[in-house]
């Protein structure tokens, strides 16, 4: 390469300056600062007192924390075991050869993702209204049940309402990734399997699954990480509360309430670290498990 570039101060540093400044100040430094703040008690941003491990002790013995963790885990489980299979199923339906309507259906099914989670929450809060809401009326029309269900004030129905709303919002988003992966499945291999007498199920298991596995792992991990950070959707659905009996309280709502409603940033930082460690651990386990399946 141009000798002058390597001898002198590389112009690369000029182009990287904004990135280094912003990421250093607002990404890497706050991670460390959060680690420090987790050992402080604060009311607001300024009054600070060192309290050792007390934040962690408080959080880990707080029943509300476990309530939030439980809700978040249930939500994550439904994201992975309900929403992703549906996304994959829709992607497989769309992936027919030579179908000109593919783009049209893809756009429709994907479209809810364009609506921000706050807007979705506001919409669905009205859709879930007992007696008048569209969802209740539709259920009544289809099954004869459900007109009077009070989704957002009956603790038993709060999580299902959040899960249904998230399903509407994200099923098409994940479908896009599966569809991109399915389009890369080798048609030759598929034909060869068909010639060898493999049925649809066997073709799915032995040709499709191995081919889309990298993308599937990526989607599962992204979906898990996203589920652990669920906030806006239930926040808007339940108008800023955890819902009746905290049935819709998520871990991030728990953090938000402590850090910005009660004003204890230290406690918020401690919850943030616990959440980050949980996300990191689960992602690592998922990557390990997905690699363990390889032959």
């Amino acid at each position: 390469m141009n000798g002058a570039l390597t001898r002198h101060f590389s112009p690369a540093w000029f182009f990287l300056l904004p990135t280094i400044a912003v990421m250093g100040t607002f990404l890497f430094y706050p991670v460390i600062l959060a680690g420090v703040m987790a050992f402080q008690q604060s009311s607001g941003a300024l009054a600070v007192e060192w309290i050792g491990w007390e934040n962690f002790q408080f959080v880990l013995s707080d029943p509300l924390f476990y309530r939030a963790a439980r809700n978040t885990l249930i939500f994550a489980a439904f994201s992975i075991f309900l929403q992703l299979p549906l996304s994959l199923g829709l992607a497989m339906l769309l992936n027919a050869k030579g179908d000109r309507t593919k783009g049209f259906f893809r756009l429709i099914i994907f479209s809810p993702f364009l609506v921000g989670p706050i807007f979705v929450g506001i919409l669905f809060a009205v859709l879930f209204t007992p007696r008048f809401g569209m969802i209740n009326r539709f259920l009544q029309y289809l099954t004869g049940w459900g007109l009077e269900v009070n989704w957002l004030s009956n603790p038993a129905f709060v999580l299902p309402a959040i899960i249904l709303t998230a399903l509407w919002m994200y099923v098409g988003f994940n479908m896009i990734y599966f569809l991109a992966a399915l389009q890369s499945v080798s048609q030759d291999l598929m034909d060869a399997a068909r010639v060898d007498g493999a049925g649809p199920w066997q073709r799915f298991l032995h040709v499709t699954v191995p081919a889309i596995k990298p993308v599937a792992v990526f989607v599962v991990i992204m979906s898990t990480i996203g589920s652990f950070q669920l906030f806006e959707l239930p926040f808007a659905l339940l108008q800023g509360t955890g819902g009746p009996d905290n049935a819709g309280l998520t871990l991030v709502m728990y953090l938000y309430n402590h850090a910005f409603v009660s004003g204890d940033l230290g406690l918020g930082a401690a919850v943030g670290w616990i959440l980050a460690m949980a996300i990191f651990t689960i992602s690592m386990v998922q990557i390990k498990v997905s690699k363990g399946g390889d032959h």
Binding site: M1, A12, V31, L33, F105, I109, G116, F218
Partner: protein, 307 residues
């Protein structure tokens, strides 16, 4: 039994008939098409409902799920009353403002965020793709690694920093921390690595400065990535809620998601009003993206998936 049941049973009967007649492929095709159409209807129904709710008079809002029967159409049932209430100037502690101000705030914030990200991410991507310098590998890994940091971990410490900087209730608190992102840097690096180095060298021999090479050669050559990336950033900024909700205090500075969340409490009994607001809030991105959907999907998938 109602119309819906009859339709579903009819569909089932046709499918069975096709299978029994030995036309399994036709049955599979019909089943596939039907499922896609039903799913599409389910997914579109909230949008349709929202449009109708916006233009229905508050008095008939609960009476009909979608629109009143045609015979009852009149200025009494279908009108602009929700929009009129929404757009009427409102008094706040800082003065009288209309809903257009919040639309403007959102447009401004999302546009500024997009310009900042495109500028700085393309600069960094250019640096990683074009130059070899000491520490490039390590620095790039650090940038990629930053994607592992859950944003929520940063909220409490960045809040303290924002207070210390005196940035509370200013747009700095939103725009500066979000001015670069690892995802954009990665996209631009990948795209610019594919540009032949000879182009840059030729420009250098012609005496172009490195800044001009970035701006006048590299950037135009990766224009599809810029289009896709702009859409992703714009949408994220348009829909973002936590940061503006935490860092902004004055009502007149709020973007749409925050103000609509307030409206839900304020117009508790007139939900046609905040539904009309939601309709207006999702209209601009929807138009943008239906028009540019290819670019958008490219922007989402080119990071993680090879197409």
């Amino acid at each position: 039994m109602n119309l819906l049941h009859v339709a579903l049973l009819l569909l089932l009967a046709i499918l069975m008939g096709l299978v029994l007649a030995g036309r399994a492929t036709a049955a599979a095709n019909l089943a596939r098409r039907s499922v896609l159409i039903i799913v599409s209807c389910l997914i579109l129904s909230p949008f349709v409902w929202l449009v109708f709710a916006t233009f229905k008079d508050p008095s008939v809002l609960n009476e009909y799920v979608f629109l009143p029967p045609f015979a009852e159409w009149s200025a009494e049932t279908i009108n602009l009353s929700n929009l009129r209430t929404l757009l009427a100037p409102q008094e706040t502690v800082h003065g009288t403002y209309s809903f257009f101000l919040y639309i403007f705030n959102s447009v401004f914030l999302a546009t500024a965020q997009t310009l900042l990200q495109v500028t700085f991410c393309s600069m960094a991507g250019f640096a990683f793709a074009v130059y070899s310098f000491r520490g490039r590998q390590a620095l790039f890994l650090l940038v990629l690694g930053s994607m592992m940091i859950p944003p929520i971990l940063l909220l409490a410490p960045v809040y303290r920093m924002v207070v210390n900087f005196g940035w509370m209730d200013t747009y700095f608190a939103l725009l500066v921390p979000g001015a670069v992102g690892a995802y954009g840097i990665f996209l631009y690096r990948q795209a610019m690595m594919r540009v032949p180095k000879e182009l840059f060298d030729a420009a250098r021999i012609d005496g172009a400065s490195e800044l001009r090479i970035w701006y006048e050669i590299a950037l135009p050559l990766v224009r599809p990535i810029t289009g896709a990336f702009c859409l992703v950033v714009f949408l994220n900024a348009w829909n973002s809620f936590i940061a503006p909700n935490v860092f902004l205090q004055s009502t007149y500075k709020m973007p749409l998601p925050v103000i609509l969340q307030h409206f839900v409490g304020q117009y508790e009994n007139q939900y046609g009003v905040f539904l009309a607001g939601t309709f207006l809030a999702i209209l601009p991105p929807a138009c943008l993206f239906f028009y540019l959907q290819r670019e958008f999907i490219l922007g989402l998938t080119s990071g993680g998936v090879k197409e």
